[in-house]
C-alpha cells in the first residue's frame, strides 16, 4: 500500500461493506432497478390491457378453429391467416402500440407520479436506471407477446392436422425473433421520446399512424421508417391495397438487421444521455 493511500481517510462503508462514496456498480444497480420495475410493470392495469391486446389472436385462433373454419369457406389457408396476424396485427399495430404505451412511460410515469426524486437521489447512475427499466419493459412485453405468438401459431396452423406444420416452424422461430427485435426498436425509439418530450403519447401515435405510412411510398423514403425494416424481416406478405400494393418493397435482410441494430443503439444512447443530463423539476 502506498503512503498516499495509507494517508487517505477510510472510505465510508455501509453494513454491506460497499464503498458508499461511490455509486452502486452499473450491473448491480441496473439489476435492482429491473427487479423493481418488473414487479411494477407485470402487475399493472397497463399490462392487463396489453395482455388482452396482445393475446387477442389466441381468442381469434380459438374462434377460427371452433366456428369460422367449419362454417365459412376458407378464403385463405390457416398459415396465411397466421401470417396476416403476424404481419398486420402484431408487427404493424399491436407491438408498436405496446412499445409506445410502455416505453414512453418508463421515465414519464416516475415524473408524473413525483417518485423520480426518490429514484434520482439513490446512489445509482442514471444510465443504470434507464437500462434496468428498459430491460423490464422488454421482458414484460416479450412475456405477453411470445407465448401468444406460439399459441396462435399452433392454433391456426394445425386447423387441418399436423401435416406440413414442420415446414412452417422456421417461420415461427423467425417471427419470434422479429417480434423481439420490433419491441427493441420501437421501445428504444419511444424511450427516447419519453425522456425528450413531456407528453410523448400523441406524437408517438402520430409517428405510428402517420409517419410510418411512408413505408408504402416508392424509392428510398421507406428507409426513414422503422416499420419498413421489421416488415422486411418476416416472410409473410399478406396482400396489400393501394400504395402498398403498388410500391411495396422488401428491403434486404442484412440491411434491415444493421439498420435496426443502429437504431436501437442510437436511440437508447441518446435517451440515456438526455436522461443523464436533464434536470427534473417537479411541479408544485
Amino acid at each position: 500500500m502506498s503512503a498516499s493511500a495509507a494517508a487517505r481517510p477510510p472510505a465510508p462503508e455501509s453494513a454491506g461493506g460497499r464503498d458508499t462514496s461511490r455509486p452502486v456498480p452499473f450491473p448491480r444497480a441496473a439489476r435492482a432497478v429491473f427487479d423493481l420495475a418488473l414487479e411494477g410493470m407485470v402487475w399493472s392495469r397497463r399490462s392487463l390491457l396489453m395482455a388482452i391486446l396482445l393475446g387477442l389472436p389466441i381468442a381469434f385462433g380459438l374462434l377460427f378453429r371452433g366456428i369460422i373454419v367449419s362454417r365459412l369457406p376458407p378464403r385463405m389457408t390457416a398459415f396465411d391467416l397466421y401470417g396476416f396476424v403476424i404481419a398486420i396485427y402484431y408487427i404493424r399495430n399491436a407491438l408498436p402500440l405496446a412499445a409506445l404505451f410502455y416505453a414512453t412511460a418508463l421515465i414519464a410515469d416516475e415524473a408524473d407520479g413525483r417518485t423520480i426524486t426518490y429514484l434520482l437521489t439513490r446512489p445509482v447512475r442514471r444510465g443504470a436506471i434507464l437500462f434496468g427499466k428498459f430491460a423490464a419493459y422488454l421482458v414484460t412485453t416479450a412475456c405477453l407477446t411470445l407465448p401468444a405468438v406460439v399459441v396462435s401459431f399452433f392454433l391456426l396452423t394445425t386447423t387441418r392436422g399436423w401435416t406440413g406444420v414442420g415446414a412452417r416452424v422456421p417461420d415461427l422461430f423467425r417471427d419470434l425473433g422479429v417480434v423481439v427485435l420490433t419491441l427493441l426498436a420501437y421501445g428504444a425509439f419511444f424511450t427516447l421520446m419519453g425522456v425528450l418530450l413531456r407528453r410523448p403519447v400523441i406524437p408517438g401515435l402520430l409517428f405510428l399512424f402517420v409517419w410510418e405510412l411512408v413505408a408504402n411510398l416508392p424509392g428510398y423514403m421507406p428507409r426513414l421508417t422503422i416499420t419498413a425494416y421489421v416488415r422486411s424481416l418476416i416472410r409473410h406478405r399478406p396482400p396489400d391495397e393501394g400504395l402498398a400494393e403498388i410500391f411495396g418493397q422488401v428491403l434486404p435482410a442484412a440491411l434491415c438487421l444493421e439498420a435496426l441494430g443502429a437504431m436501437i443503439v442510437v436511440f437508447l444512447g441518446a435517451a440515456a444521455w438526455i436522461f443523464a443530463s436533464r434536470e427534473y423539476v417537479l411541479e408544485q
Binding site: L38, M41, W43, L72, M76, V139, V150, V151, V165, A167
Partner: protein
C-alpha cells in the same frame, strides 16, 4: 419467488414447450426427405439436371381441385382409363402413386436427344407392370444395366431407343430418355448420388416449401431459353414489347387446398432487374384490374396476386379461391355448373 418472476417463468415455459413441439414437428413431419421434398432415390438423377418438378399425387387427388375439375373434364373418360390401367398393370394411380418427379437437362437436341426423366414413387406390382411393358407395345426390348433390367422402346440398330423405363427399387420407377435412365439406374446400383454435386440446384430444392402439392425449381441454364420479351399490352398491331430481365433461378411452389395457392420466387441478376421484373408483373396485374369494368371477376383475380421484391429476388404470391376460378370459367360447362357450391 415474486409474482412477476412467476409470470416470466410461466411465459418462458410456454415458449419453451412451444419451441420443443415445433422442433418435434420438424423432425416427425412426413414431408421430410433426403433434400427438401426430394426422396433419397431421386438423388441418383444425373448431375447435369437443370430443373426438377414434383407433384404430390396424394395431396393432388385429395384436393378440391381434383375433385372439381377431374369430374368436370369428363366424368366417364377418366375412370375408364384408370380402370384399364389397373386391369393391365394392377396400378391405380389415384391410390398407388405417391409422388411424381420430372427432371431434365437443358434443351432436347433432337428426337432422341431429349434427356427428360420421370421418377414415380408408390406401390407397384412389379410382375404385372413388367409384363404390361413387355406385351402391350411392340418394339420393346430390354437390357441389363448394373444388374437392373432397363426396358427400351423402339431400339434402333445402334442400340439406342426413344425411351426407357426401369425399376430403381420396388417402390420407384424411372422412365424417360434412355441415356438418362441408364445413368440413373447405374448410379443407384452403385449407391452414387450424382445430384449432390449439383449444389446450385440442390440449394434451390432445399428452399422448396415442404408439403407443397406441386413445385418446380430451375437454374439459369434452363431459364436462358425463356422469352426475353413479351408483347406490350397495346393490342394487336402494336409494335412495342416489354423486355423481361433474365432470371438466374426460379422456384415455384403451390397448394390446392383449400384454394389454389401459387408462390413464385425468381432470382435476377441485380436489384434493378428485380424491380423491373416486379414492375412488369405489377403492370400486368394492374391491366387485369382495369378490365374489371367489363369483367368484374377480374378485379378479384387482380387482388389475388401480390408482388414484392427482396434485393435481387422477386416474389409473386397468388391465391385463387375456387369460387373465383369457377367464375372465370366458361359458362357452357354443364358439369361444373352442377357441382354443389361450397358456400353455405
Amino acid at each position: 419467488m415474486t409474482r412477476s418472476r412467476t409470470v416470466v417463468l410461466g411465459s418462458a415455459l410456454i415458449v419453451g414447450a412451444g419451441a420443443l413441439v415445433a422442433l418435434g414437428a420438424i423432425y416427425l413431419d412426413p414431408a421430410r426427405a433426403a433434400v427438401g421434398p426430394l426422396p433419397p432415390q431421386a438423388l441418383s438423377l444425373p448431375a447435369g439436371t437443370r430443373f426438377v418438378m414434383g407433384l404430390d399425387v396424394k395431396r393432388f387427388v385429395a384436393s378440391p381441385f381434383y375433385t372439381r375439375y377431374s369430374s368436370a373434364a369428363g366424368a366417364s373418360a377418366r375412370p375408364q382409363a384408370f380402370a384399364e390401367l389397373e386391369e393391365k398393370t394392377g396400378l391405380n394411380p389415384e391410390r398407388d402413386i405417391d409422388q411424381v418427379y420430372v427432371a431434365g437437362g437443358q434443351v432436347p437436341s433432337g428426337p432422341r436427344g431429349a434427356d427428360g426423366l420421370v421418377v414415380v414413387t408408390g406401390r407397384f406390382d412389379r410382375y404385372k407392370v413388367a409384363r404390361a411393358i413387355e406385351t402391350e407395345r411392340k418394339g420393346v426390348t430390354s437390357k441389363t444395366v448394373q444388374g437392373i433390367t432397363v426396358y427400351l422402346f423402339n431400339e434402333d440398330r445402334s442400340g439406342r431407343g426413344t425411351g426407357a423405363v426401369a425399376f430403381l427399387d420396388d417402390s420407384t420407377i424411372v422412365l424417360g430418355a434412355q441415356s438418362a435412365v441408364e445413368q440413373t439406374v447405374a448410379a443407384r446400383a452403385r449407391g452414387d448420388v450424382p445430384l449432390r454435386s449439383n449444389t446450385m440446384l440442390l440449394g434451390l430444392i432445399e428452399g422448396v416449401k415442404p408439403g407443397s402439392t406441386f413445385w418446380m425449381v430451375g437454374d439459369q441454364t434452363l431459364l436462358a431459353n425463356l422469352p426475353k420479351t413479351i408483347p406490350a399490352p397495346g393490342g394487336p398491331g402494336s409494335s412495342q414489347s416489354l423486355e423481361l430481365p433474365a432470371l438466374k433461378s426460379l422456384v415455384v411452389t403451390g397448394d390446392l387446398d383449400p384454394q389454389v395457392s401459387l408462390d413464385l420466387t425468381g432470382d435476377t441478376a441485380d436489384e434493378a432487374a428485380a424491380k423491373n421484373l416486379a414492375d412488369v408483373v405489377r403492370g400486368l396485374v394492374a391491366l387485369a384490374s382495369l378490365q374489371a369494368n367489363q369483367k368484374p371477376e377480374l378485379k378479384q383475380l387482380a387482388s389475388a396476386v401480390s408482388v414484392s421484391t427482396e434485393a435481387t429476388r422477386v416474389h409473386v404470391a397468388a391465391r385463387f379461391p375456387y369460387e373465383l376460378l369457377d367464375s372465370i370459367q366458361p359458362r357452357s360447362a354443364p358439369a361444373s355448373a352442377s357441382q354443389p357450391s361450397s358456400t353455405p
